[in-house]
């Protein structure tokens, strides 16, 4: 790398990742560690230590890139034609997405595995009353609130479009439009999370369960789903709840991380930080955001429709 190049790399991402790992190890041990798996409060220190390291790494990372005005990593393009115009940062992002796909593949295949193994509730209703092995799809629980899932789907699809438009605005040296499109993406992502949290609250508190429900009759239109969810549908209620909340929660966490990244992008775009020559970061964020959209493309039908 030549001396006049704008950026010389940073240790911040490495620190961020190691500290994140420490934080999660601390969290798991503090809540579920110990001999009886009831949690060991001593590990909260590890959790907060990791959290502090993660925030430090994050701030270092932001600081390193805040004043950057030129592309980096371009030198890799001349190594071999196979690399085309892929920069190290872009290739690194793809490797990151590669690992992310594996995370969600595991969650979704585990869910499909359960669905294939356990008979559905509505296929043999009478035998399922009071028996755990019958599967009540989250889709049936949500069916009366399906419109919010559909709105969320359109919000994410539209936000994918606004990210693309932000990138093109930056390429056309239009910082105001770039900021506006990034803000639109943020608003759409926030709508997604707000609706998701509201939906979770409704399901957790059993608001889909009407006072007039007949336990022997599944009547989705009138909020009568299954007796075992009379008092709510939550993470520890059943296997259906575990798979639903862990998968949608993991996805929601990715949206939340995206919103934090968007705040940085909006702030930098607002000070004319992206232009024809420097828009790499928006493109890389776009890859991440499209991936989040992509996951929802699979989560939505399997948890909300079927």
């Amino acid at each position: 790398m030549s001396d006049d190049h704008g950026h010389h790399g940073t240790i911040a991402p490495f620190l961020f990742c190691v500290a994140s790992a420490v934080m999660f190890i601390g969290l798991v041990m503090a809540t579920a560690g110990g001999e009886d798996n009831a949690g060991d409060t001593g590990y909260w220190f590890i959790f907060f230590f990791g959290l502090a390291g993660m925030l430090t790494g994050f701030m270092m990372w932001v600081q390193d890139y805040w004043n950057q005005t030129s592309e980096e990593g371009e030198e890799i393009e001349v190594y071999h034609e196979f690399w085309g115009t892929v920069t190290t940062r872009k290739f690194g992002m793809w490797i990151f997405l590669l690992t992310e796909v594996m995370v969600f593949s595991t969650l979704l295949s585990a869910y499909l595995r359960y669905r294939a193994a356990v008979p559905d509730y509505d296929s043999n209703l009478a035998e399922c009353i009071g028996i755990d092995p019958c599967w009540v799809p989250a889709a049936d629980v949500i069916r009366s609130h399906l419109i919010f899932g559909v709105i969320n789907t359109f919000a994410l699809l539209l936000s994918s479009l606004t990210v693309v438009l932000a990138l093109y605005a930056a390429k056309n040296n239009n910082p105001k439009a770039t900021t506006r499109y990034l803000m639109a993406t943020f608003v759409l992502g926030a709508i997604f999370l707000i609706l998701k949290l509201w939906e979770w609250g409704e399901m957790k508190n059993g608001h889909f369960w009407s006072d007039h429900c007949d336990p022997l009759k599944q009547d989705i239109a009138h909020h009568c789903i299954a007796p075992k969810y009379e008092h709510g549908f939550w993470l520890d209620t059943s296997l259906e709840g575990s798979t639903f909340y862990i998968t949608t929660g993991t996805h929601g966490a990715h949206v939340f991380v995206g919103l934090i990244a968007l705040l940085y992008l909006i702030a930098k775009a607002n000070k004319d930080g992206y232009n024809e020559k420097y828009h790499d970061t928006i493109e890389l964020f776009g890859l991440y955001w499209h991936y989040v959209d992509l996951v929802w493309v699979f989560v939505f039908p399997f948890f909300y429709l079927y």
């Binding site: 085309g84 559909v150 992509l294």
Partner: protein, 126 residues
């Protein structure tokens, strides 16, 4: 920036303007129009997805419809929003690795009957 890099970017920019005609219902001048059409395609497939599930088809038909539409939407997002159509082969081949992993998990674990995963030899056709 080197001369090679300049030519590379020009090549990239040129290809960013090309969408298949069937996606955009004809030739387009502005790539933004192309992305808008891709978005409309995604909306169309989503509506079809929701409409299909309200028909209450059999399990197999439902799974085929949901998987099929999800894969189609996935293709639209990857190809155009994620620029894979215009990216060099390295990106596509990198993306193929997790796609393969996902397919194996779905087919060998997700959609098998209980006990089947204990018999990998049968799954692999030995």
């Amino acid at each position: 920036m080197s001369e090679e890099n300049n030519s590379g970017h020009e090549h990239d920019e040129h290809h960013e303007h090309s969408f298949p005609a069937w996606v955009t219902f004809g030739n387009i001048e502005n790539p933004i129009d192309g992305f808008l059409k891709v978005f409309l395609w995604l909306v169309f497939w989503t509506l079809l997805e929701v409409g299909a599930i309200l028909q209450e088809f059999a399990f197999v038909i439902t799974m085929i419809i949901l998987f099929g539409i999800a894969i189609i939407k996935c293709w639209f997002i990857c190809s155009f929003f994620m620029h894979m159509t215009w990216d060099p082969p390295l990106v596509n081949r990198t993306a193929a690795v997790p796609a393969f992993f996902m397919a194996v998990l779905f087919l060998a674990v997700g959609l098998t009957t209980p006990g089947a995963v204990d018999d990998l030899a049968t799954i692999c056709g030995f």
